[in-house]
């Protein structure tokens, strides 16, 4: 009996949605305003912040025109047009918290934050002001391992995956490695990346030795002494999570000094620089994209769509920050639309023929409320240009996905990635209720 009622309600809701989406429908839903916070200035703007902004604008434009492929082919969010309010993430956590408090007054949702420090600072404030906030690019696992939030979601996997998959790939391709060194920036991202990598290596190959760990400050620029120390360490492998100008400066200075002739290089966040650095990336460098983004993204109509709209706007290929932006917007859209359908289903009076249109019109125009969207977002599985994303950790608030690593190869002067190996979720992510460190120490077993 219940299943019949549910079926009838679904059919009625589907018919109502179809009816309401028709052009003749007079009561248009009001635009949805999304605050988009990304680096527009400072060192992170060039490689991450601006590509994410360009992607977000291109995606919103395309969604509003109803041009995205299925399952995201409804206009805007469930028929409501989307507007972006873009804010600069530069200036540090104190400034960001102030900016966030101002921003939430005028927007419906917030998508943002590349810096792990900003994510850790914003999450409790989002909870306090009760504003649905999607963290789109920061990597620290601490957000949901140390906190529990109702209003905060993160639509990209956390950084443990990057370090664990790097160790797995290294040992898959170089099983005889005896020692390794590291050069990572001296702040949360660099430290976490190095710690997780060394921990994973110690579990996977306990006899492997650490030779030296160089931790230059963020934005150091000059790496002469670090390169000398790395050369003198005679390491088989050099692990690096450097990014942006720091990575480019390091590559420019280390290449002429023959560092990479002696040691195998792993660039955990190397993918955005494959085209920029070109010949400065030596053949055989192991690179990751912090997920199945960019060159690692699976072939799909959604991936083709992102590439096309990004190229049209930026004139270049989308790199992983563009994919992170896509995950966040499409994840929120999927949650919004799921909540909207649920609301429309509820709005249809049981067994009534009268008042159906009025009720559904009212529900359609109002859209789902924030709590309904949150309920729909928790544990959601949605499609994105990076593949299938599942909100499985952090009580349904933290996304997981598999990842991939590959090795660079120069072909006709162009850097390509070969020998791509893909790692499923259970091999690179801890299960729910377990911290990354405990999971790695425990042998990285699936639950």
């Amino acid at each position: 009996m219940k299943s019949w009622t549910t079926l009838l309600r679904r059919v009625a809701a589907g018919a109502a949605v179809a009816l309401l989406c028709a052009p003749a429908f007079a009561q248009q839903p009001k635009p949805i305003k999304i605050g988009f916070v990304t680096f527009l200035s400072g060192p992170a703007s060039g490689p991450f912040g601006v590509p994410a902004k360009v992607a977000a604008e291109a995606i919103v434009e395309s969604l509003n025109g109803g041009k995205a492929p299925a399952p995201h082919n409804t206009k805007g969010f469930g028929g409501a047009p989307v507007e972006l309010v873009v804010i600069d993430e530069a200036g540090g956590t104190t400034k960001q918290v102030t900016e966030y408090r101002n921003l939430v007054q005028s927007v419906d949702f917030v998508i943002g934050y590349i810096s792990s420090g900003d994510c850790l600072a914003i999450a409790p404030v989002a909870e306090e002001v009760k504003k649905l906030t999607v963290l789109f690019d920061c990597g620290t696992p601490r957000v949901f391992e140390e906190g529990s939030y109702k209003y905060v979601f993160r639509t990209r996997p956390h950084a443990t995956m990057d370090a664990v998959a790097a160790a797995l790939y290294l040992l898959d391709t170089h099983p005889n490695v005896k020692n390794f060194a590291g050069i990572n920036q001296n702040y949360a991202w660099g430290q976490d990346s190095w710690n997780d990598f060394t921990l994973a290596m110690s579990v996977l190959k306990p006899d492997v030795k650490v030779t030296t760990s160089q931790m230059p400050k963020f934005g150091a620029g000059q790496y002469g002494a670090e390169i000398s120390a790395l050369i003198q360490s005679n390491s088989d492998v050099i692990h690096s999570s450097l990014w942006g100008g720091d990575l480019e400066a390091f590559m420019m200075q280390a290449g002429p000094r023959d560092l990479f002739k002696k040691s195998q290089l792993i660039l955990v966040a190397g993918e955005p620089y494959l085209h920029r650095l070109g010949g400065a990336i030596p053949d055989g460098t192991i690179v990751g994209a912090r997920g199945t983004h960019g060159v690692f993204a699976p072939d799909s109509p959604l991936n083709d769509w992102l590439k096309e709209i990004y190229r049209a706007k930026a004139g270049t290929e989308p790199t992983y920050p563009a994919y992170s932006a896509a995950n966040a917007i499409l994840g929120l859209k999927a949650a919004y639309e799921k909540a909207k359908v649920a609301k429309l289903q509820k709005s249809i009076p049981m067994g009534a023929n009268k008042g159906v249109k009025e009720e559904t019109q009212k529900a359609y125009a109002a859209g789902p409320d924030q709590d309904e969207i949150i309920a729909a977002f928790e544990g959601l599985i949605f499609s994105s240009p990076s593949g299938r994303m599942a909100m499985s950790l952090g009580k349904g608030h933290q996304a997981v996905s598999g990842t991939a690593y590959g090795t660079t190869k120069l072909v006709s002067g162009k850097v390509t990635v070969t020998n791509i190996k893909r790692y499923p979720i259970e091999k690179v992510q801890p299960p729910e209720g377990m911290t990354s460190a405990d999971w790695i120490k425990g042998g990285m077993k699936a639950k």
Partner: protein, 298 residues
């Protein structure tokens, strides 16, 4: 032994780079008593101008060796344009205010120039790597170093020697020292203090831009490089003593060697090492190692 040699070479290379930047900062402070925060932006402008001019040169198929000329041209052009513009257009109207007000004004200039750089060059990292690798490498103690480091060392020695010579061995240098000692008395005896200020600030700006232009071939030029550099340059001049040429040299060498030692022997403290030296020096000599004793005015 090999490690000691590496520490010495790495330390001296870093010191050469630091000295070129810090010496302009200390010169401006010594003469004008202005702690010029915008010095970092002038460094960044020099780096940006070097990538543009060097890129232009190479894009037109001219011989790559000419990029060294482009680096020099970038430093001179930025110094000659930005120096007089800031000094005549802004600072000259503010002399007589307290030092802290002038610091705030140069901070405002720093912020304006940061945005101007973004407006002109965008936010993507830029590079001009050719001059860095063009000179080849040398090998010592099993380590390969680019000859470009030797060029950096030669330029810093040349800059230091030229400034010492001008300050101590020429009429203009004596005039400058008179202004450093007492601005009012210098003006009273007929020295054109206004012109001295203009020339000093322009030379300071040129040195900052030269630091940036010479660094551009080995780094990615991008927003944010100015702030990172000015903090280090401040540490160097504070260690050496504000306004002291010898102090800037000693401060740069001390910072360079301590940092290189930390990187090789104790990488965990590298971040902290430069500021530990600064704190130690300030505890022992609050006005820096080479602070000039100030005459008390009655």
């Amino acid at each position: 032994m090999q490690e000691v040699l590496a520490i010495l070479i790495d330390g001296i290379t870093y010191a050469s780079w630091l000295f070129i930047i810090a010496v302009g900062l200390t010169l401006v402070y010594g003469v004008m008593k202005i702690l010029n925060v915008a010095h970092g932006s002038l460094y960044a402008l020099g780096a940006y101008a070097a990538t543009s001019l060097g890129g232009y040169w190479l894009a037109h198929g001219y011989p790559p060796v000419g990029t060294y000329g482009m680096l020099a041209l970038a430093a001179i052009a930025v110094g000659l344009v930005a120096g007089p513009l800031i000094e005549r257009g802004l600072l000259r109207r503010m002399y007589g205010n307290e030092e802290v007000v002038l610091v705030l004004i140069t901070y405002a200039v720093f912020l304006i120039l940061e945005d101007l750089s973004k407006l002109l060059w965008g936010v993507d990292p830029l590079s001009i790597p050719e001059p860095y690798s063009l000179l080849g490498n040398f090998e010592i103690g099993g380590l390969v170093y680019p000859n470009y480091n030797l060029l950096l060392l030669a330029v810093s020695l040349l800059v230091g020697a030229a400034l010492a010579l001008v300050l101590n061995g020429t009429r203009q240098g004596k005039i400058l020292q008179a202004v450093i000692h007492d601005r009012e008395m210098s003006a009273a005896v007929g020295i054109n203090v206004s012109r001295v200020y203009l020339v000093t600030f322009t030379v300071g700006a040129m040195l900052a831009a030269m630091g940036g232009a010479l660094t551009a071939p080995s780094i990615a030029v991008q927003p944010g490089i100015s702030a990172d550099t000015i903090v280090l340059a401040f540490a160097v001049v504070v260690i050496g003593g504000l306004g002291s040429l010898g102090g800037a040299a000693l401060g740069a060498v001390l910072v360079g060697l301590v940092r290189a030692w930390a990187v090789h022997k104790w990488p965990e403290v590298e971040l902290f090492s430069v500021y530990a030296v600064m704190a130690l020096v300030l505890i022992l000599r609050p006005k820096g190692l080479f602070a000039v004793p100030e005459a008390r005015k009655i």
